[in-house]
Amino acid sequence: MSESLVTMGGVEKVFRRGSEDIHVLHGLDLDIARGEFLALMGPSGSGKTTLLNLIAGLDRPSTGSIDVAGQRIDQMSRRELAHWRAVNIGFVFQFYNLLPVLSAERNVELPLLLTSLSRSERRNHVATALRIVALEHRAGHTPRTLSGGEQQRVGIARAIVTDPALILADEPTGDLDRKSGDGILDLLTALNREHGKTIVMVTHDPHAASRASRRLYLLDGRLSTEMAA
């Protein structure tokens, strides 16, 4: 077994709605190896996105521990988590979540604004990221003038531009047609295989999940089955 990048132990997540406690995750234990491409599957409301948010440090577990790259992120403050995310996490969203007023290259540059890189260094990093997603020729375009597939490629470029340890993708092909979706999956596979990126992808789609090296099924907040790809 290769070195673990993410280790979760006894993670529970309880939301409070009025006077009712809603248990979303029940005592999850999970190891994700460095360089792994993990697909998280399960029906709506099963807790996939909540689990992804916990790994991303966007949310905190009610109980349990989360260790990512040797750091206990469940014990960090909001500010520490923000800094940690900027360095360690790359996000890919279902609906791309690009800023409509910025061009593709400015969207990709956003995470770099939080680093100490100079303007020219940032420009070089952005160019590299756009080259990886094969969109350097669309750098100056705003999201409105890009197709869904292209917007998602920009989203991926934004996720990898800081060279994070972990890429988290929430339904990355959920808003795309099959052809564009395949292009995105090819890209994620290449990032995993050629660039050694660890990827956790939430998806409903078995076709998309088939690209992963491991698939996990969440049902009612429990990891019910674990299958090798």
């Binding site: 948010n53 991303a56 966007l58 949310d59 909001r78 500010r79 923000a82 800094h83 940690w84 995310r85 900027a86 360095v87 996490i89 996000f91 969203f93 609906f95 979540n97 800023l99 409509p100 007023v101 910025l102 400015r106 956003l110 995470p111 604004l113 939080l114 934004r158």
Partner: protein, 383 residues
């Protein structure tokens, strides 16, 4: 600035809305400039009144005269440097009620008491030597196209001459103000000419201007003067020049309070307009702010982004408004010269600039705080 492009890009989001908000701020600041200038005009130099000057007038009213014999007694008092008689003339020029003051004074003493009225030395000398000589402020001289050497006829109202109804003055000088707040609309002439040529009122003067040696003694000297003439047929009221001018200006109402009330209402409205724009801008961007937080922007950075945006809107629009206001006010007094001074004072410009910054901070504070508190998970869910 690292985040500058990101902040500026947001201006493009709803161009019309941003433009209209900025326009309302611009108009508010133009109004501020105008009202400040009008307020300044009504203060008639309160802010430049000399701390070393007192005004002695009749206790009952400014229109009651005082005996000229008081002057020698006043000048003998400890702490008094010198004094000048002064009388309101109230003549008509070209058959019209004029809006500028015509005041008879004692030139040799008056120019020492009021060094801020800058008269060229040769013109000053001519005034001292010409019985019918008068000096006019630059603003009035320009308004009527007067030049040194002109004869200025003024029709008498209550100061009737011994013969006829017209007083003729020789314009021997035109004065400028040592600084912008000095009233350059007045028309000063010699008290001895008034005295020898008037039908009634000989031996009387309207009031006295007094220069004292030590400003800190102003109160005690004023009290001594009033005590000196207590229980006489013409009791006096002595006050600092500042109080005198203020009292004179307030005869038409407390303009300062009226102007302040109008500006408060205007800026409160603008606060709501700009505040609503910023609140709406943040509401529409909840998802985007969530993305920023997800990729590592801290709460503080998100707060700063919103606050800087609000500050920029307010400061750019405020700056344009201040500049336009200054240009409009500099173009001239809209009353055609009724106000003795009309300008956008540097202090008012600084106040306007501070207001612009405050407006930006206040309108941005609540939306920025909401953006800061935003939970990224919630924000992304709402997207």
């Amino acid at each position: 600035m690292r985040f500058g492009r990101l902040v500026l890009a947001n201006f493009k989001r709803h161009k019309l809305r941003t433009l209209l908000t900025m326009l309302s701020i611009v108009v508010a600041f133009i109004l501020f400039a105008y009202l400040s200038a009008i307020k300044k005009g009504f203060e008639m130099g309160v802010s430049v009144a000399g701390a070393d000057r007192l005004v002695v007038r009749h206790k009952i009213s400014l229109i009651q005269p005082l005996p000229q014999s008081y002057q020698a007694q006043i000048e003998r008092m400890d702490g008094v440097a010198l004094s000048s008689q002064a009388s309101w003339f109230g003549g008509l020029y070209q058959d019209k009620q004029v809006q500028w003051g015509q005041i008879a004074v004692q030139p040799e003493k008056f120019v020492q008491i009021y060094p801020e009225f800058v008269i060229p030395p040769d013109q000053k000398k001519a005034w001292f030597e010409t019985r019918t000589g008068a000096v006019a402020g630059r603003k009035t001289a320009t308004r009527y196209g007067w030049k040194v050497g002109d004869k200025i006829p003024l029709q008498a109202t209550f100061n009737r001459p011994k013969s006829g109804n017209i007083w003729t003055f020789d314009l021997v000088g035109i004065y400028d103000g040592a600084h912008p707040e000095v009233d350059t609309t007045a028309f000063w002439f010699r008290h001895d000419y008034l005295e020898e040529n008037r039908l009634y009122g000989n031996g009387l003067t309207g009031w006295y201007y007094i220069k004292i040696k030590e400003p800190k003694n102003a109160e005690s000297i004023a009290r001594k003067i009033d005590e000196q003439f207590a229980n006489s047929p013409a009791e006096t009221k002595t006050e600092t020049e500042k109080a005198f001018i203020k009292g004179f200006a307030e005869q038409v109402g407390n303009i300062g309070a009226i102007v302040t009330a109008i500006l408060t209402a205007v800026f409160f409205t603008i606060l709501l307009v700009a505040g609503n724009t910023m609140a709406q801008a943040v509401r529409e961007r909840v998802g985007e702010l969530g993305v920023l937080k997800a990729i590592g922007f801290t709460d503080g950075q998100v707060l700063a982004l919103v606050l800087i945006e609000s500050l920029l809107i307010s400061m750019i629009a405020g700056g344009i408004g201040i500049l336009l206001g200054w240009l409009f006010v500099s173009a001239g007094d809209p009353t055609g010269g009724a106000l003795p001074v009309f300008f956008f004072a540097p202090r008012s410009i600084v106040t306007a600039a501070v207001l612009a910054v405050l407006l930006g901070l206040v309108t941005g504070a609540l939306p920025a705080f909401q953006a800061m508190r935003l939970n990224p998970v919630e924000a992304l869910r709402r997207e």
